[in-house]
Structures are given as structure tokens and as C-alpha cells.
């Protein structure tokens, strides 16, 4: 089982001229989870979106040792954000089948494929097996979240980037999701979750963003630096 290791050094990024992340570094081994803590606006979502490659970092490097060299980390990871990426006009199974056929699979370190390669099984596992042919417009918010999560179960990718994964979920669904996260980690995968609620997971590290780079606004001394950004050059 080739173990993978994610190394992220000196990561910083701007949003609208404001420096949101400054010099964030951490390492994460395969089979481990990382909880990103910190008050709202400290940049939890921005860190996840930067790791996913959706936002371009202004400085720092992201590397996945043991993964595919020619692919960015974003292409070897799942991003589970606030939006469900579902089309109400398509039925539940059509939505899931599209993502399974469209997404490029990356096998997990222990070489196995997806947790639920079969779509019906994936839907059954997240508890919406009875809505396979219903247009997903009929699903409730919680059911849509679970359908979106089923995407992570049916396409194998080593890194899971979860933004508030347990929001809009009830106790049972949250239990179920934690179970899948542990199963993913047992297969050598990595989970990075930004959340307020404590996640009872084995082998989980913590990264408190406010400690690493100071509170959202930054202490007075470094106020100017943390505000530095694209218009830094004009700040002469």
C-alpha cells in the first residue's frame, strides 16, 4: 500500500485585494483527517477552495507525495461545498450517473476503487434509495446534501475536501457520513474538513487558522501586511 502524504507550505491567497490566507503550512499523511478550525471569515473555505484549485494561490506550494505527479491536487480530490451541484430537472440516478461517468477516477493508495461503485448501492447507503427515479427537484435539502455526498462514494479520489459537511443533516445521516469518512481513511484516503461541530473521528489532526496567521483582521502590527495584495504595488 503506497502511502501518500500531502505537503502544503507557505500557502497564501488574496480575494478582492484582501489577503485571506497568509503563509499557511501543514502536512497530512494518508489515512488521517485534518479539522480546520477558526471563526467565520478566517479563510476556512478559501483554504479548501485553494487546495481544490478553484482559487489560484498567490504564494506557496501544494504537493501530494505518492499521488499522480502530472495532476494538480484539485484533480485528485473531491470538493464537497455548500452547493450541491444537482440539476432539479434530472432524476436522482441521472445526476449521480453523470458525475460517475464524467469525473476522472484516481485510485486510492491501497489500490481499491470507489466505496460504492454501483449507483443504486451508493444511493441506498446514503438513505435515499427510494428516490432513484424522482427528479431531484422533489428532494429535501438534507436529501440533496446526501445525494451530493453520494458522488464522493461512487468516484474514487484520495483527498476529500469537505466544507461544513454535516450542515442540514440529521443525526442519523451525520453518523452515516462519519462512517464513510472513516472507511475512506482506512483505505488510505485523506479527509480535510472545515467545520464548527466536533467530528468524532479517529486519527484526526487540527489546524486552527486563526492561530497560524492571527485573527481575521490580523493584529495591528501586521495589519498592513495582511492587507497587502494585488494593490500592494500601488501602496507605495
Amino acid at each position: 500500500m503506497t502511502s501518500q502524504k500531502m505537503i502544503c507550505q507557505g500557502l497564501s491567497c488574496e480575494r478582492g485585494g484582501r489577503r485571506v490566507l497568509s503563509d499557511v503550512s501543514f502536512e497530512l499523511d494518508g489515512g488521517a483527517a485534518l479539522l480546520i478550525k477558526g471563526p467565520n471569515g478566517v479563510g476556512k473555505s478559501s483554504l479548501l477552495r485553494t487546495l481544490a484549485g478553484l482559487v489560484s494561490a498567490s504564494a506557496g506550494t501544494i504537493a501530494l507525495e505518492g499521488g499522480r505527479e502530472d495532476c494538480r491536487l484539485g484533480e485528485q480530490s473531491h470538493y464537497f461545498g455548500h452547493l450541491d451541484a444537482l440539476k432539479p430537472a434530472l432524476s436522482t440516478i441521472e445526476n449521480l450517473r453523470f458525475w460517475q461517468e464524467f469525473y476522472e477516477p484516481h485510485s486510492l493508495p491501497n489500490g481499491t476503487g470507489a466505496i460504492f461503485p454501483d449507483l443504486e448501492a451508493a444511493l441506498e447507503a446514503v438513505g435515499i434509495g427510494h428516490t432513484t427515479d424522482l427528479p431531484s427537484g422533489y428532494l429535501s435539502a438534507g436529501q440533496r446534501r446526501r445525494l451530493s455526498f453520494a458522488r464522493l462514494l461512487s468516484v474514487p479520489r484520495p483527498v476529500w475536501l469537505l466544507d461544513e459537511p454535516t450542515s442540514a443533516l440529521d443525526a442519523a445521516s451525520e453518523e452515516r457520513m462519519l462512517g464513510f469518512m472513516e472507511q475512506h481513511m482506512q483505505m488510505g484516503g485523506m479527509v480535510i474538513a472545515a467545520t464548527h461541530l466536533p467530528l468524532s473521528l479517529a486519527n484526526v489532526g487540527e489546524l486552527n487558522l486563526s492561530a497560524v496567521q492571527g485573527p481575521a483582521g490580523g493584529s495591528d502590527a501586521t495589519a498592513e501586511d495582511t492587507q497587502a495584495g494585488m494593490d500592494d504595488w500601488f501602496y507605495d
Partner: protein, 233 residues
Amino acid sequence: MTGSMTNTRDAAHWARALFIREFRLGVRVGGGALIGVLFFLAVVTVFPFGVGPDMKMLARIGAAVLWIGALLATLLGLDRLFQADREDGSLDLLVMSGRSLELVVLIKCAAHWCATGLPLVLAAPVLSLFMNLEPVAMGAVTLTLLVGTPALTLFGAVGAGVTVALRRGGVLLSILVIPLCIPVLIFGVSASTAAVSDFAPFKAPLLFLCAISVLAVVVGPVAAAAALRNAGD
């Protein structure tokens, strides 16, 4: 497990899945297909009310009216090309899917053209009845539309990619894209009017139109993909 040998079969597989999804969404409830053709019908019908029902004059400006109607109808449906995906979060996943974004944009444009562009071409002969065009001119307009509308969609995709993050992007899209589409309009109309007058050349503008469409097949997706890549924030 994702060796290169599976790439060719694999490529066709995901491309087909994306095309089917986009086409199905375009045609299903709330899709843009019906609305595009209706807008085309409405625009073409309004012209005679403005310029009067004089048949000879309508025949002269018929081709131009049809082409301008088709251009506006195409632009109408384009701002939802990426906006819909961005609003429900699919755009992020498309960018992260590991498939080449240029190909993804090309397939989305192809599906969008089949759902909204093709019905315009099919409606053109019927609408040219209202413009009292002779059969030859009718055929010419339909042919030039068939060849020209892909270019409109592909250049429009660039505008859509650029304005995807803006709130009122739809309006801005038309302003950005119309200048890009002026050559398409010029060659399209001149080819259609040349078909009836016996001394103006018909082939030359038509070939120019094809050339522009082929150019758009390359420029459109590349530019739109670049615009989408940094629309993530």
C-alpha cells in the same frame, strides 16, 4: 488503474455523458430551446409592423432581418450557458473534474447549439415566408444560418465565460459579443442576398463564413476556458 490505454475509450465516455446531460437540460422544462425560437419568431414578426407590409421592400431586407433575429436569439440563451452551473455549484466540479476545460466548453457549446441553435435554422424557412423571400433566398439564408450560428454560439461562450461571475452578466454579454459577431453577420447577409442577385458572388462570403466558424471552434473554447479558470473565487 487510470493508464493511458483506457484514455481513448474513456474520453469518448465522459464526453458523451456531458453532451447528453447538457442537451437534455437544454431541451427539458425550462430549457432554452423553445424560448429561442419564440424570440426569433417575435423579432421577425415585429419588423413588418415597423417598416410596413410592402412586399418588395420586405423581400429586400428579409435576409438581414432573419440574421439579426438569429443573432439576438442566440445571445438570449447564452448567458445561462455557464451561469446555471455556477449557481448550483456544478461549475466548480467541472473545473476540478480533471477533464480538459477547453473540451468541456466545446461540448457544452455543441449541446447548446443543438438545443437552441438548430431550431433557429429549422425555423428560418418558415419565417422567411413572412419576409416574402423567394425559395432561392430562403435556401441561402437557411444554409448561411446553418454554417454561421455555431460561430455565434462559440464567440458567445467567450462572453458567457467572462461574465459568469457578474450579477447582471446577461446584458453585458450581448454588448461584449456583438462586435465579435459582426463579421459573421456581414458574410451571412451578403451571402444570402448574393444568392438572388445574379452578379454578386455567393460562394466567397459563404466560404468566409465557414472559415470564421472553424476559427471560432478553436478560439471560443480556449478563451472561455481561460476565463472560467479564474472565475472560481
